[in-house]
Amino acid sequence: MFAGKRLSKELLKLQEHLPPGITIVKSDNLEEWQMDIKVLDTNPLYQNQIYRLKFTFSSKYPIEPPEVQFIELSPATESPRPIPIHPHIYSNGIICLDLLSSAGWSPVQTVESICMSIQSMLTANSRDERPPGDSDFVSHNRRRPRDIDFLYHDDNV
């Protein structure tokens, strides 16, 4: 109930004013939203690309963090959405970002602020690589992002 109220308020605000590079794709229910984000500067890794984020909200949002990950739409469709290359983004779309863990989360964060954090995380990156052990993780992981214990070691992003 709390989550629904808060999300409908956020949605109203977002529909009034969207930050640059962020668009709402799907927000018809209050459990799963999809947003498209772009990197605004001229970082060659992400130029001319649009990425899709999937937000899954629990009933305890905003006290609990939402589950956020990139989803991939095949390049064959008319709106291809790849998974951005980044040393903290696995190729299945799971993001290693302390803001999204229950330890780093704060209830004052919003969908908008998460999108902007991820935008800046991409902007600041110059390394064209996946996290170490990506293929292993991608082929073995069946857990949901919230159940994974990430080790947040990199303070530079």
Partner: protein, 455 residues
């Protein structure tokens, strides 16, 4: 400063929650309010705000849920906004802030029931409590579980949820809604048709509009472009003279023809695609066979044809389940076989030619080898002869020396006395064995003497 601890704050909430009827967060605000009046957790104007040590303000309830959910131990609770570790909470937020929040205009929460009142948020509680006639309250009859609007409560405390039968429409209506039903909603009430002004039953209005002679109705040929719209009564006269109506059947027939032609075209397109597939298939077979031939001949010079022919192969496989495709490919297989047979013949000829060439080459090679052998033999004979003559010369040159050596060797032997005879007799057979050894041995013996100077 009146600072309270975290435990006290948590205990306060349960006490405050009880006397709250209206959920202030779900109220619909009418006036715009500043974003700074909004709790960052629930995104509503602050409800009973609390201030932290770091001067950040939250609703008390939001802060409580954040504390219970986030802080692993109560000691390390940090401000949700700035993450400053926090122990003290202050309830005395500036009066200004509370007043501004309470001054925001909201709609009465019972708007759906009919209350159109807009009041400041601080007064909503008392409005609902005392003045709002639309507030839902429990039915005074204890056996009835329904709710009723406060203004509809009967003074005698009777239950108004009893069903009454409407005399006109035979429906059952609750007593509290009866008056409204009879006045406005009952389907048996008469109403006036907006076009012809005749009065009809409310429930029959829809049927009436379908047949009302006064309703404006478009011409039946409007889909062919007739712009005329007249009252239904006049429509008949128009349709008699409308040229498009007369053309109607013709248009229909043309449309049907177009449809069937389009269908035929689609069929033909499909057939065409099948044939094209077949041709591509044959072409790929040819490319493959010619490649096989060139590979037989020698090093494949046409490797670059490989990628171009490859895409044809899966296409052939795709279409092979098509019946007509198979027919056409059968037809082509015969010609392909012929072609392959002729290629085979020419290849056989080439192989024959090659084997001829090889035997020829073989014969030539053996002739050359033989010639070379003869020449070598001759050379060797010459060399042999040369070696023989050289030996003869050496022998001839050696002979005088040999004789000289024998002579000088005999002289000291004789001078040495009687014991020199066995030595001379011993050297006798050795001279028979080889002239050089026989010559050297006595010479070495005489080396110590004046023999060297003599030479």
């Amino acid at each position: 400063m009146a600072s309270i601890t975290l435990e006290e704050l948590l205990a306060m909430e349960t006490a405050c929650d009880r006397d709250e009827i209206v959920d202030l967060r779900s109220l619909e605000t009418v006036s715009n309010y500043d974003d700074h009046l909004m709790c960052p957790i629930c995104r509503c104007p602050f409800v009973r705000p609390v201030r932290l040590q770091c001067d950040h303000v939250f609703c008390q309830k939001c802060l409580n849920s954040a504390i219970t959910a986030l802080a692993a131990s109560r000691d390390d609770f940090t401000c949700p906004t700035c993450r400053t570790p926090t122990r003290g909470f202050y309830l005395n937020v500036p009066r200004l802030l509370v007043n501004m929040c309470d001054d925001i205009r909201v709609r009465c929460p019972f708007r759906d029931e009919g209350c159109s009142e807009i009041v400041p948020r601080g007064h909503v509680q008392s409005h609902v409590d005392k003045y709002c006639g639309y507030r839902l309250v429990d039915c005074p009859d204890n056996s009835c579980s329904k709710k009723t609007r406060k203004k509809d409560l009967s003074p005698e405390g009777r239950c108004l949820h009893e069903l009454h039968r409407c005399l006109r429409c035979d429906d059952y209506i609750m007593e509290q809604d009866y008056e409204e039903h009879v006045k406005e909603l009952c389907p048996s009430l008469k109403t006036n048709c907006p076009d012809c002004q005749t009065s009809v039953f409310r429930k029959a209005l829809r049927e009436h509009i379908d047949t009302c002679p006064e309703v404006i109705h478009p011409c039946a040929a409007s889909k062919y472009g007739c712009p005329v719209k007249v009252k239904r009564a006049e429509l008949m006269t128009h349709e008699k003279i409308c040229p498009l109506i007369a053309m109607g059947p013709y248009f229909e027939a043309q449309n049907a023809r177009l449809d069937s032609l389009e269908l035929t075209i689609r069929h033909l397109q499909q057939r065409n695609e099948i044939f094209e597939d077949g041709i591509a298939n044959i072409r790929s077979t040819l490319v493959q066979s010619s490649r096989a031939l060139t590979e037989d001949d020698g090093p494949p010079s046409d490797v670059h044809t490989l990628p171009t022919s490859n895409p044809d192969i899966p296409r052939r496989r795709d279409s092979s389940n098509n019946q007509s495709q198979i027919d056409s490919s059968n037809l082509y297989t015969a010609t392909t076989t012929n072609y392959l047979l002729s290629l085979h013949e020419s290849l056989r000829e080439e192989v024959g030619q090659l084997s001829h060439a090889i035997t020829d080459l073989d014969a030539r090679a053996s002739m050359a080898i033989m010639n070379e052998c003869l020449r070598l033999k001759e050379d060797m004979a010459h060399t042999n002869a040369a070696v023989g003559s050289m030996r003869m010369q050496v022998q001839w040159l050696m002979n005088p020396r040999l004789h000289q050596g024998q002579r000088t060797g005999a002289r000291p032997n004789n001078a040495a006395g009687g014991n020199g005879t066995p030595a001379a007799s011993a050297s006798g057979p050795s001279t028979a064995a080889g002239p050089s050894t026989a010559f050297l041995r006595p010479r070495r013996l005489s080396d110590s003497g004046r023999e060297g100077t003599k030479l």
